[in-house]
């Protein structure tokens, strides 16, 4: 008799070469793809070579490295980290190395290049590596010693997580985006509501949510403490991967009688446009509660909400408007490909005409790195993922998290604003 399993359990069982696994099992599993960046490759490379004694990596074709966190180098020390990252990638013959100006933020670059695929076991030395799970894989964030182990052996230890199932009914209302939904869900369960567990997202509402918006949802699994976020394979997944996938892949489905620790049901039609208030991503509030809050900075960027569909919505709101006096709007595309597309579609012209600062693709301001760090007492509305004290700069700066249309509208008025006050309707096809 075969044991019924969730998608997460099936992927870990396959990786471990076992018929089945149960939550709580510790397994040694083979990794299909691994990622590191300019902050995590230097320590991982040092640990792997100097402490573990490995001379080469297990499979140069299955590793991606991005120069995204503090690159283009924000100071001399970051330049050293960038150099160590570059040299390690070159020495190891890493196939998917993305130089400054050619890649961008890891969590946009890997999906858009078809490097993380259904059914796979993916690890990244960055907490938001859970993003890839929207593509029907098991993807999780790991540390630098973990990454060193994977680079040396192609294997890593995992505790099989319990799975929480999130079922989304109905359809999101006008203006309400996947970002609002996931902020609402995290608000309901808390920043440790899924601690070390798998978040499996399912339900008919997802059929109407495109791949980029799905990536926004799985991206924030870590904000509920989850090990991974995962979605089913469907037409949307297939369409996104056609012509993009770099390897053949085998989708995975949860068995009908798989065991879930808990099942949450949401009528998404009832979810309002919302924000996470300072100082925690689970501090959800409907937009109406915070509308009118004065802002110093608006930031549209990050692996959460700065893909091309996000920029299209921001541009639709900003078209023929100016950024309000006293506010600065910083827009950071999440990848070089996104920037190229934005240029083709004329979005950059709209941003520049509105008075926005348009930057190169980088994690930048999201983690208080560079190009938009906040000072003491400043208030920022940001399309990013975290607003813990000090995340974007000074510990006494305040960060509200929102979707890109709200961010764009708020930049126009200078206070937190519903986008319908700036634009009657989001044009069809942009959502």
């Amino acid at each position: 008799m075969t044991v019924a399993m969730t998608m997460t359990e099936k992927i870990l069982a396959r990786g471990a070469g076992r018929e089945s696994v149960r939550p709580g099992d510790l397994v040694l599993a083979q990794v299909d793809f691994a990622m590191g960046h300019d902050l995590t490759i230097p320590p991982a490379g040092k640990i792997m070579r100097e402490q573990m004694g490995a001379e080469k990596i297990w499979d140069p074709d299955r590793v991606a490295v991005t120069q995204d966190h503090f690159q283009p180098a924000k100071d001399a020390a970051s330049a050293t980290l960038g150099r160590l990252t570059r040299e390690f990638s070159h020495d190891m013959g890493i196939k998917w190395y993305f130089e400054v100006g050619q890649g961008g933020i890891c969590h946009t670059v890997l999906p858009e290049n078809g490097l993380v695929l259904p059914g796979e076991l993916v690890v990244g030395a960055d907490s938001h590596s859970c993003t890839y799970g929207a593509l029907n894989n098991f993807a999780t964030g790991i540390g630098s010693t973990d990454l060193a182990c994977v680079l040396a052996l192609g294997e890593l230890w995992f505790r099989v997580p319990e799975t929480l199932k999130f079922v989304y009914h109905n359809r999101l209302k006008e203006w309400v985006e996947a970002k609002d939904l996931i902020l609402y869900v995290i608000g309901q369960i808390g920043v440790d509501g899924a601690r070390s567990k798998a978040m499996e997202h399912t339900g008919e509402a997802l059929k109407h949510i495109d791949m980029e918006a799905r990536l926004t949802m799985t991206n924030m699994a870590i904000e509920a403490g989850a090990k991974n976020g995962i979605m089913e394979f469907d037409e949307v997944t297939k369409e996104y991967l056609d012509g993009r996938a770099k390897r053949p892949y085998t989708p995975v489905t949860s068995d009908r009688d798989a065991e879930y620790e808990k099942v949450f049901e949401f009528d998404v039609e009832k979810v309002e446009l919302g924000v996470a208030k300072p100082m925690s991503p689970d501090n959800y509030a409907p937009l109406s509660e915070v509308a009118g809050t004065r802002l110093d900075q608006v930031f549209i960027g990050s692996c959460t909400n700065s893909r091309i569909t996000d920029l299209r919505r921001a541009a639709a709101v900003l078209e023929n408007h100016k950024v309000a006096p006293g506010v600065r709007l910083i827009i950071t595309p999440s990848s070089h490909q996104v920037a190229i597309q934005a240029e083709k579609e004329g979005l950059i012209r709209t941003f520049l005409a509105a008075g926005a600062a348009w930057t190169t693709a980088t994690c930048g301001a999201c983690l208080g790195g560079h190009m938009g760090v906040l000072g003491e007492g400043e208030i920022c509305l940001s399309t990013t993922n975290r607003n813990f004290p000090g995340r974007m700069g000074h510990p006494k700066a305040q960060v509200y998290l929102s979707n890109p249309a709200v961010a764009a509208a708020s930049a126009v008025t200078g206070v937190i604003t519903h986008p319908s006050e700036v634009l009657d309707h989001m044009p069809a096809g942009i959502r």
């Binding site: 320590p43 004694g53 503090f70 813990f388 004290p389």
Partner: protein, 180 residues
Amino acid sequence: MTLPKVIRGKAWKFGDNVDTDQIIPAKYAIYSLDEKELGKHAMEGVPGRDTWATGVTQGDILVGGSNFGCGSSREIAPVAIRGAGISLVVADSFARIFFRNAINMGYPILQSPPAAEGVEEGDELEVDLEEGIIRNFTKGDEYRCEAFPQFMNELLRMGGLVPWVRKQLEERRKMTPSRG
């Protein structure tokens, strides 16, 4: 590096959901390869604790609340705490990447909800790592810690993932003789 059986030290108490940006603000990630420098800035992002590291005596024990170390995957979070001189972290619960990172480094962490509740800042503690018991000399209390799976205890005893990988690599080299 083998773990001592018993660790003694003074407690430093922190609350729930202390995230990695508070443990070591991202701007210090430029010191990723310098544990001592990271240690100088440990916990600096926690409101009211901006000079915390200067008060730590080598061997002190950090006691956190629930979901300790949530947020980023940066391994410099446990590295910074160790660099500040903290010998052991006890918490009500740990965020998973912080937990992994500490175990992988061979850095002792213990999960003990009663200790997280009962210990106050400045209490003198003695932790018996083998027995999984924390004694509070100041209060005369004793707290039990939750047992980890065997593999994690083995990793901790070995000194973390590094010696484990070294062993795996040696075994692989034996199995696949070099072709010259």
